[in-house]
Symmetry: C2
Subunit: 397 residues, 2 copies
């Protein structure tokens, strides 16, 4: 066997998603890029803000000696300090450089965290729907992802989480603003969850970590994302600049650890060691320096908001229901059930939409059949132009 | 337990190396940076070549739309093509973009390869001394590193490798130019190794991969590094621009796969999948574009060569023997044995050298006691200035 059995199996599974992607590309080849309404990919299309270009150009001009060399595995101390300050403002607790390490994007950060905290067989609780890469991110380290349904409004089902906690629970993983629903978990939900974890820790002796994946924190519409670190000491935030500064290809993110976490030294040394041996070694040097100067910048969220509103308008007009998105850049739509079906068939609906040259991702790909995700990382004009296609698709479903 | 058992154990082990590092820092604090001869760290101190600065500044000025966005996990197709051409020149076989993926440095590349090829319990054969991170890089995926001694001249012990091959052997891992010895494996050695692996594959049905870690390929003194891909079809080269362009902090490297490898599609899809789920997602976008324009550039190797010669001169004068370095930037010295010892005590010698404010790394840290590594990533003047200290240290050993 030329490759590992697990990888071979994974390739067979992921070939389905690739097939969908390839079919989309085939549609574009037949009909032309500008005729297909591709809402399938969550790839931020906005350019980084002007301040990014300024800093980028200035650092390239200076190009100081040693600026592309190694630094401590956790990142440049002054960068960690700058981001700790930013995290302090967001999280309502005082962090310093010793609480934060730089990561190769949030994906690298999550792998680093799971490598650090998971023993084989340990469980990570997550709420459906969820970003499917969480499965390999935990399985990479022998972890088991425990997938629970969320409430009908896509808030966390705290009762279900409470019941499922066990001595094997290493972490509860949340993602807010949420992919694919756009949900932002309210402060009371975070506080109640913290209370449940605290009580479970007290009773069992093992306090599960609350791991918060927050790459969309700055992509919100008229509200703030409640802090996680101030709610529960055993908490870890993972984030990136892929969305807030539109730098997904540059792989720059961080892991911020609660200053009051138990055995903080072991956790931080573990994260630094994991960063090293997983082969990240460190987050890219230049981008570290750039984001440290941009802690108060973000892309123009108003653009995403106008797209969201345009998209909601056309879905309303077409009669397609959706979860109210408070952040991120996704609309999670309820697939209309046919006849005596209890839930709409999301795969069939995705196929149906293709006839009208509309591409979306079935909720099954996030663990929640009966729904369909549209990403609005697409020009507002294109969104508006898709209105008649949506209407026709709904009439003929 | 707040962190994974394996990580906790690893931290305990690696604390020894940290201790050494901290003691070096303490020496510098007491005596001043300019008084300590720190030859312990293999951190390239040369600046990237002028052509790097030109491309960097031009790309920063243009900053084209989409240039920081996602691209396919394997990297930008045109970058892969450019590096495939470069690899074709170096390796004596014709590669195209489909044979190569971009990686987060060679460390990221090796992790990606091992994730792709290793089933739990599979063995990777390596020759002592070796870069110690190979241990976690294989253990991360349940692999077992089989450590064999090399010949007295630090060439590969082919007979020992041949005897140790088994149905569990997934790969033989080599590193040339070699850290810590500076050895470059001759073409005949590579060819003989290929013959052994080929014969083993024919007999057992499992052809071990030959994985060649080559970040030092361009740091050589008056010779060329023989190709690996043209010698054996089941071969994979991992490399980076950390040394050749002095960009270690930017984490940019690649994995080049033999175009004639068995089940090439499975291997390439596996590598791409592993890159994705290990959280690298892709190599940093900007650096991909920069290195693609610099495939014929490298740092001024003459500087390293002059340092090497200066270092050899002072070791000769002090009476300290070493392996003849043909590449990389290390001198591996034989610790003089005392009295009836069969080999010198490298840890004791490292401690002894500290009294003369000289820092090196004991061979034990590379699996080969009785030797000591000096890195000459240090200004030539500093190297020359250390002569009297070496002499005195040797006299008093």
């Amino acid at each position: 066997m030329p490759i590992a059995a697990k990888i071979r199996d994974a390739l067979e599974t992921s070939s389905m998603i690739r097939k969908m992607f390839e079919e989309g590309n085939a549609l574009k080849k037949i009909h032309g890029d500008d005729k297909v309404f591709d809402f399938s990919i969550g790839n931020p299309d906005l350019e980084p803000p002007p301040a990014f270009h300024d800093v980028f150009l200035r650092l390239a001009g200076e190009d100081k000696p040693g600026s592309h060399g190694y630094m401590p595995n956790g990142g440049f101390p002054e960068v960690r300090e700058a981001l700790a300050e930013k995290s302090s403002r967001e999280q309502g607790v005082k962090l310093d450089a010793s609480c934060l390490i730089m990561a190769v994007g949030a994906a690298g950060g999550l792998n680093t965290v799971f490598k650090t905290i998971l023993n084989p067989g340990d469980e990570v609780i997550v709420s459906r729907p969820f970003f499917m890469e969480y499965r390999p991110y935990t399985a990479n380290y022998g972890g088991v992802l425990v997938e629970l349904d969320s409430l009908p409004d896509f808030n966390l089902d705290l009762e279900a989480i409470k019941v499922r906690l066990s001595p094997k629970t290493a972490a509860v993983l949340i993602n807010s603003p949420h992919n694919p629903t756009g949900r932002v978990y309210p402060a009371e939900t975070i506080k109640s969850l913290a209370g449940i974890l605290e009580a479970h820790g007290k009773a069992s002796g093992r306090y599960p970590y609350l791991v918060s994946d927050e790459p969309y924190r700055e992509i919100v519409y008229g509200l703030e994302v409640p802090p996680v670190l101030s709610a529960y000491p055993e908490s870890i935030v993972v984030s990136s600049y892929s969305k807030s500064l539109s730098l997904p290809g540059e792989r720059i993110g961080y892991v911020a650890v609660n200053p009051n976490i138990r055995d903080k030294d072991a956790v931080m040394n573990g994260l630094i060691y994991a960063t090293r041996v997983l082969g990240y070694v460190n987050a890219p040097a230049l981008m570290q320096r750039i984001v440290a100067e941009l802690t108060k910048e973000r892309v123009d969220v108003g653009i995403y908001e106008r797209r969201r509103d345009a998209f909601k308008e056309l879905l309303d007009a077409a009669g397609l229901g959706y979860a109210e998105p408070e952040g991120a850049f996704y609309l999670f739509c309820k697939v209309p059930a046919k006849g005596h079906e209890s839930a709409g068939d999301d795969r069939a609906f995705a196929e149906h939409l293709k006839k009208y040259l509309i591409l979306g991702v079935p909720g099954s790909s996030f663990g929640t059949p009966g729904w369909l995700r549209f990403a609005y990382c697409v020009d507002e004009k294109r969104i508006r132009a898709s209105g008649p296609a949506f209407k026709k698709a709904m009439e003929e479903w």
